[in-house]
Symmetry: C2
Subunit: 148 residues, 2 copies
Amino acid sequence: MNRPAIAAVLFLAATAVSVQAQQLKPEDQIKQRKSGYAVMGHNFASLAAMAQEKKPYNKEQAVRNAELVSVLSDYQKNFFGRGTDKGETKAKAEIWKNRADFDDKMEAMIGEARKLPQAARGDLASLKKAVGDTGAACKACHDDYRAK
Amino acid sequence: MNRPAIAAVLFLAATAVSVQAQQLKPEDQIKQRKSGYAVMGHNFASLAAMAQEKKPYNKEQAVRNAELVSVLSDYQKNFFGRGTDKGETKAKAEIWKNRADFDDKMEAMIGEARKLPQAARGDLASLKKAVGDTGAACKACHDDYRAK
């Protein structure tokens, strides 16, 4: 392919990726991302409590929590489209100003979250490590891009 | 085990199952179940649109949608605890009056939803079948237990 053709394909691919989010109204995108994070947050809190030995380690529950966090981790990224910086949201305007940095931090979090199920199937030590790494990746993004 | 011992074990098991939900305040349980259903609903709507050929069949997206629906399907059932019949919810009081029937319908839905990922990895025909069966199981419960 020559250079203009490659550029056209890349443009189409980028368009296709964003079509799903674009079809949703901003308030519905916000609802989806908040819902996903609410479920992720509850399940990650359960893992964190086990990792910190604030509640008993239960492997079956840890695996269920970890699978929910993992499968949801990259879901919300589709719902930070245009116009979703307003309304009932803690998302800061900096997301759209520093989009590449936000996306990098999002991908870093997703990468760590995807390791959780296997770690949960191991032992408490492997769970602690993965929970710590994922929690740090969550925090790195929250510090810059989520309002208190 | 003699009969009283068995009864004691069953009681403890039932208690353990409900501990997680009991620890959450009713409003937080409602938040969790509504959040889970919001994400499930969005993903199931995507599958239904493909099954009805209202949007193009995309296997990769279908598998992602199906995995989210499947992993979330049995999540919400933990959050229909005492006191969660009030507040911002479409859950009808009949849930707590006919709990065994509600639980049966919930389990039937979960059973169908768990078949979605494998069906989505097949072809459009297998997806249509699984989406139809899951949709019917959703509707059976909504008809009786969810306010319009």
